[in-house]
Symmetry: C2
Subunit: 348 residues, 2 copies
């Protein structure tokens, strides 16, 4: 990926030199940031607000494959994945802290690419990078991000507060990130077998981007505020729709009916799933990594929600004893099962 | 380390099952914790305070060697290392978030041991574990911790505020963690060559514990408050005394004189360094991982500081042009150099 002649050495910079190099041009824009990078801890100020903190770790070989993941995209995604958790609380994300474990044989330009993606995400979402840790790794690339944000107490939306009769809603469309991943994996295999064959990803930009460069739905949080709808519960879709619905229902001690024909799928997701002999519904239910927002609203908010192009009503909350059900296109009722992405897959 | 018969499988628990298993008995004690584990983000409340956030990542093969590091100690240390950064701001540490990357072949009992150490540290220091991320790792154990705390704005102590004439002080003693590491590494080598020889660590408890089970100096922060001394600058000693002094001096745009004969060394550190043909002073200056607090105080506070058994005055701050100097026992003046622990050592 990198010409030898272009390689600079991070060993000669050392840890502090590398941190200085990567953070010297930081532009702090949040008034809640009193002190960013450069001391033992960041100092933040959220007068009158509650503080939201979340973290997610990305490991090479588990969460990403550098064979088809550009480092700039990876940096961007590492930030989005974490911001998504703050938005899922109906909060405003303001800062991130980034820890990086990287082989000392990694060229400086590679670390710069990764940070270019991190800074791009921060700039686009109005986030300050305020700290972190950088160390060598003997075991591939490790990225750990902590996202910080705030909210008024009355605005915070939890997972365990859905009520019977509430409408189950989701932003955007689902299953794209997973079908994009299938495509990238296939092209990688073809390339391994014959390096002369160029990847065939033409016309698949949307789902490739869903996988490599997801966008956290800050816009949906803002939209809901604009139309004066406060969700009764909310979670982000990182592990697949089924898993997230079950989190809301189990934690709220409720059941639900999810209607298969309402699940929003992009035509490209549908078509690509079919190419791979996959059921597009399963891709949405179990695929994960879409980083959309799943939430419930009161029935009284139906008129406001139905007008929103980017929000789909996919079901409703029932009493617990009714269970969590998927109502298929054929009208058959199945218990909803979480077969989402497993962080601990059985050893091959 | 673990009998096969005792092994339970973390694959069968899955990610959410594992998180539930490890966090079901959490006892939240901080009133600043409104919501801990179980939603997209933790919700915290620090009315009228500034929020402090810091992070540190520990990677197997870089920061620890499981050949001689008990997992319970490792969990304990991972928390201490992070709390130390909050105390170094003169703050009160209140919460941690722990991300863990662990091989799916790791027995559940091993993860439980690690968490036992994490919880022990939390309990002892009054800290709530409020979130995290748990995932499989293909590349050894990865522990990333974020520590959160608070302080009144007027109490926060930065690195860049030392003034000419201030006294340079350090808590406890230095070099112990490094000499303890030398000992553990030697016994590992002997064991590899002949597994029948038992490790000879008798009488070396203190320095072994300095390496494997450090304690963040919450007590020093409380002591300084009690005797009404606010340091003019502060940092924790993670990378060796020389490196930390240079951080304070460079960021404060000052120089310093550090007196070799004042550097506090435990007799066991001194004796063990000699056994290894190491200069005990170099162990203190460059060894790292002592997690003591290095700070400066006004000369007017001399009378209060000199009475403290666990604080040593090791030098003073000078004007920048005088440089940062080590005055040896023989009275020779050397420029102080950071040869501390290097996160990016040259490849072997």
């Amino acid at each position: 990926m990198f010409e030898n002649s272009e390689r600079s050495n991070i060993e000669t910079l050392g840890e502090f030199g590398l941190i200085d190099h990567l953070t010297k041009n930081i532009n702090l824009t949040q008034k809640s940031t009193l002190k960013g990078v450069g001391d033992d801890a960041a100092v933040l100020d959220f007068p009158g607000k509650k503080v939201l903190v979340s973290t997610d770790m990305l490991l090479e070989g588990i969460h990403f494959d550098l064979a088809y993941t550009p480092l700039k995209h990876l940096g961007y995604k590492a930030i989005q994945v974490n911001l998504s958790d703050i938005y899922a609380m109906n909060g405003t994300a303001t800062q991130v802290i980034v820890s990086l474990g990287v082989s000392s044989k990694f060229p400086l330009e590679a670390v710069e690419e990764l940070y270019a993606g991190i800074y791009l995400a921060c700039e686009k979402y109005g986030i300050d990078l305020v700290g972190g840790d950088t160390t060598s790794s003997k075991q591939g690339l490790v990225i750990s991000v902590t996202a910080i944000g705030y909210a008024d107490e009355k605005d915070i939306v939890y997972r365990n507060t859905a009520e019977e009769g509430d409408l189950l809603c989701v932003s955007g469309d689902l299953g794209g990130a997973y079908t994009g991943l299938q495509l990238l994996e296939r092209e990688k295999m073809i390339y391994i077998e014959n390096p002369n064959i160029q990847p065939d990803l033409e016309g698949k930009d949307y789902i490739i981007e869903r996988q490599l460069k997801p966008e956290a739905r800050k816009d949906i949080v803002e939209l809901l505020k604009d139309i004066k709808v406060k969700p009764t519960s909310m979670i982000d879709v990182s592990d697949g729709l089924a898993s997230e619905i079950l989190h809301i229902c189990n934690q709220s001690k409720k059941g639900c009916n999810l209607y298969e024909d309402k699940i929003p799928l992009d035509p490209m997701t549908f078509e690509t799933a079919r190419e791979f002999n996959l059921d597009p519904t399963i891709c949405a239910l179990s695929g994960g990594e879409d980083y959309e927002l799943l939430f419930t609203v009161k029935q009284a908010d139906y008129d406001k929600i139905k007008l929103q192009m980017d929000i789909t009503i996919i079901g409703h909350i029932t009493e617990r004893s009714a269970g969590c059900n998927l109502v298929t296109k054929a009208g058959v009722v199945h218990p909803l099962k979480a077969q989402g992405w497993n962080a601990f897959p059985p050893a091959p």
